[in-house]
Every structure is written in C-alpha cells, then in structure tokens.
C-alpha cells in the first residue's frame, strides 16, 4: 500500500486525476493521461473511486434537484426602495414646466419683497437706522460695593441692642423759636459746620440732618415746610 502511494506521488500524473474525472483536461493532456492510466494501476483505481462517488452525487442531483421548478424569487414589496424626499424633489424639478413655474414664482416673490422693504425704509424717520426696536431698560439703581471687600454680613440685633439704640434716639423736644434760631447760627467752629456730616460704619461720610430738625420732621414729616418756617423766622429777626 505504501508502495502504491509512492507510485501515485512519483508518477507525475496525480495532479491531473480530478481534471480527468471532471473532463477538464485539454486534448493532448487527456490523451497522455489515458495512456498513463493503462500503465499506472493506482491512478486507474483512484479515477474509478472518484468517478463512482461523483456519479452518486450527480445521480442525487438528477433525481431530486433537476425536477424542481425555478426558485421564483420576487423582491418583497417591503424591501423595494422608496424614493427619498430629496429624490422626489429632484424628480419634480426635472420636469421643465414645473421648474419654469417655480422659478417664475421665486423671481416674483423676490421682486415683491424688494419693493416691500424699500417702501418700509422710506416711511421710517431718518434717525432710525435699524428696524429693530430700541430697548429701554429701566433698572433700579444697584448698590455698588467695593470689589475687594466682601459684603458685610447682616447682623441681627439682639433685643438689648435694639433697646439701646432706641434710647439713643433723641426725643423731640419742643423748644422756643429763639433757641432754635440760635442753634442754627454758625459759631465759627469748624466742627459745627460739618455737624450735619457723620462718618458711617464703612468710613464714608453720610449726610445727616441736624439733630434739632428731627423734632420738626417728626411733627411735620415734610422738610420743605420746615425750611420755609426757618426762613420766615430769619425775616422776623
């Protein structure tokens, strides 16, 4: 058996066995192989085995497959390509009549828009440079705090502090007109001139009404009236 295999390998025709079985050898090659088969028993045996097996498969094909009808394949409608929106639009514009109509409409619309915008520009005042309305923002003045300094924490006064503050508030005292005029006249002291200015907790000066005016304010709640009264008193003097 080993010798047979060696013969198959060494005969030089083993690569042509299948070509011969399936009739794919050219004329001269086929004749040469047929001549070899009469001399090489191994190749002849191989050809017989392969041919008989091939015949069995072909027989199966002839008996069971050949009588079958065509596949009759039809592409399912669900798989049939549907034209996209862009393709539909392009197909629409491929028709010259529709394309010309749409082009005319577009040109007409452009001309109309041009005249409409021109008339609107003429009717507007010369100052107006844009059609957009000017936005006027009315904002409440915001408190400006120093950038570097943190916002002072809100301190909630205790009941005792509130009571102490209330005691410091001068009680309106009804004084005579002469006393009031005397206190209004400058005494030459520089401190008196800025008596209506006190230093706030943050270091800035805050204008504060003189102390003797509180009584008047408390009574009248109207500063202008109080000043009128003062000028009237000066006139009397």
């Amino acid at each position: 058996m080993a010798g047979d295999k060696a013969t198959i390998r060494d005969c030089g025709f083993s690569g042509q066995i299948l070509d011969f079985v399936y009739d794919e050898l050219a004329g001269s090659g086929k004749a040469a192989f047929e001549g070899h088969l009469s001399q090489c028993s191994s190749c002849a045996e191989d050809v017989a085995d392969l041919s008989s097996t091939s015949m069995a498969v072909r027989h199966w094909r002839a008996e069971e497959f050949e009588p079958l009808g065509a596949l009759g394949f039809e592409l399912p409608r669900s798989l049939a390509p549907r034209p996209s929106l862009a393709a539909s639009i392009l197909a629409f514009f491929r028709q010259p009549l529709y394309a010309a109509t749409v082009a005319t409409l577009l040109i007409g619309a452009a001309i109309g828009l041009y005249f409409l915008l021109g008339s609107r520009t003429q009717s507007q005042p010369a100052i107006a440079t844009t059609d957009s309305p000017v936005r006027v923002e009315t904002q409440a003045p915001k408190a400006v705090l120093p950038i570097d300094e943190p916002e002072p924490p809100v301190q909630r006064d205790t009941d005792e502090q509130i009571a102490a503050t209330e005691t410091k508030v001068p009680t309106p005292i009804r004084r005579s007109r002469a006393q009031r005029v005397k206190s209004r006249r400058p005494t030459g002291n520089s401190n008196d001139r800025i008596q209506d200015q006190t230093v706030a907790s943050n270091g800035s000066r805050v204008r504060v009404a003189p102390e003797d005016l509180f009584g008047e304010v408390a009574e009248t709640r109207d500063r202008s009236l109080r000043l009128t009264d003062l000028f009237a008193e000066d006139d009397e003097d």
Partner: protein, 192 residues
C-alpha cells in the same frame, strides 16, 4: 437592455435604487444559488427558503458591495452563510424530530406511484443515504463538492468564487470525494 450589462454594472444600478437591475441579477443566479442551497441542505423547502433569504440579504447589503470580489463570489458567500445558519438552527432541534422527519421522507418515496415499489424504495433509500453522507462532510469540503456537482462550476470558477488557490480547491475536492466514498461504504450504499 439589462441583459447586456455585466454583474458589476447591474449591482451599480441596484445600488442606485433600481430594483429591475437587482431582478436581473436574481434571474442570472437564482438557479445556481438554489442548487448550492439544495446541495448544502439536502431539502427542497429549506433550500428554497435559504436561497430566497440569501437574495434578500444580498439586496439589503448591496450598498456595502465594494466590487473587490466578483458578484458571483459575493452571492455564493451570502448563500453559504445562510445555509450554515439554517444548519445551526437544525442542530438546535431534537434528534428525535430529525429521525421522524427522515422516516416521513422515506415513506413519501415508498408511496410514489412511478416504477416498481421495490426499485423505488431502493432508489429512495440510496438517495437519502447519499444526501446524508454529503451533509455529514465538513463545511469547506461540502461547499466544494456541491459547487462542482450541483452548480457544475469549473475548478477555476470555484477558486475565484471562494478566493482560494486552484491547488487548494482540487485538494479539497479530492478529500471530499474520498471521505464521501468511505461514508457511503459505511452506510452500505452501492456506489455505481
């Protein structure tokens, strides 16, 4: 007009949403793909379904066909993959069901009115065993023998379709036929 175009040109048209072009591809290849599926699966109904499914898959993936391979290679690859999918599904079925199925097929052959009952029964049994032996071959060997015997392709066409060297194709076919002969002898099928 479409009949004059090559497979590659038809694919190009089909990619541009031309179902008629794909229909022409189907008309050219349906018989071979059907034969391939029949040889791979051994049953008409399964082969028919697999071939149809293969064409549907081909149509779905036609936009991904780059043209590097031949259209025939591409279709064959899709069909072989579909057959393998069907085979995997078959494996998931129970062995009992398969044996009952085979017995039912044998009864169909026996009940056929043509010829003498004894001859018909013997022929049917022999065909069933050949089918069974081919189906038991490894996939790469079965693929080659089916392409050669059912589709009647040349060695060169098989090599181009499978993108294999010619020597590999011949070697596989030789091995396939030898293994098939051994299986048939084991099954006591009289090989003519």
């Amino acid at each position: 007009m479409l009949r004059n175009l090559s497979d590659e040109q038809l694919v190009e048209l089909a990619v541009r949403d031309d179902p008629e072009a794909f229909g022409e591809i189907v008309r050219r290849w349906e018989r071979k793909i059907f034969a391939l599926c029949f040889g791979m699966l051994g049953r008409e109904d399964e082969a028919r379904d697999a071939a149809q499914e293969a064409f549907i898959n081909a149509y779905r993936s036609i936009s991904r066909f780059r043209g590097d391979a031949k259209v025939s290679s591409w279709l064959h690859r899709i069909a072989v993959n579909q057959c393998l999918t069907v085979k995997r599904r078959q494996k998931s079925r129970s062995e009992e069901y398969l044996s009952e199925d085979d017995e039912a097929e044998s009864r169909v052959f026996v009940a056929s009115p043509a010829g003498s009952p004894k001859n018909i029964a013997e022929k049917g049994e022999r065909l069933r065993l050949v089918r069974q032996a081919v189906g038991a071959l490894p996939q790469e060997l079965r693929e080659v023998i089916v392409m050669k015997e059912f589709e009647e392709m040349t060695f060169q066409e098989i090599a181009e379709t499978l993108e294999l060297p010619l020597s590999t194709v011949k070697s596989r076919l030789y091995t396939a036929l030898k293994q098939l002969k051994m299986k048939l002898e084991r099954l006591q099928v009289e090989v003519v």
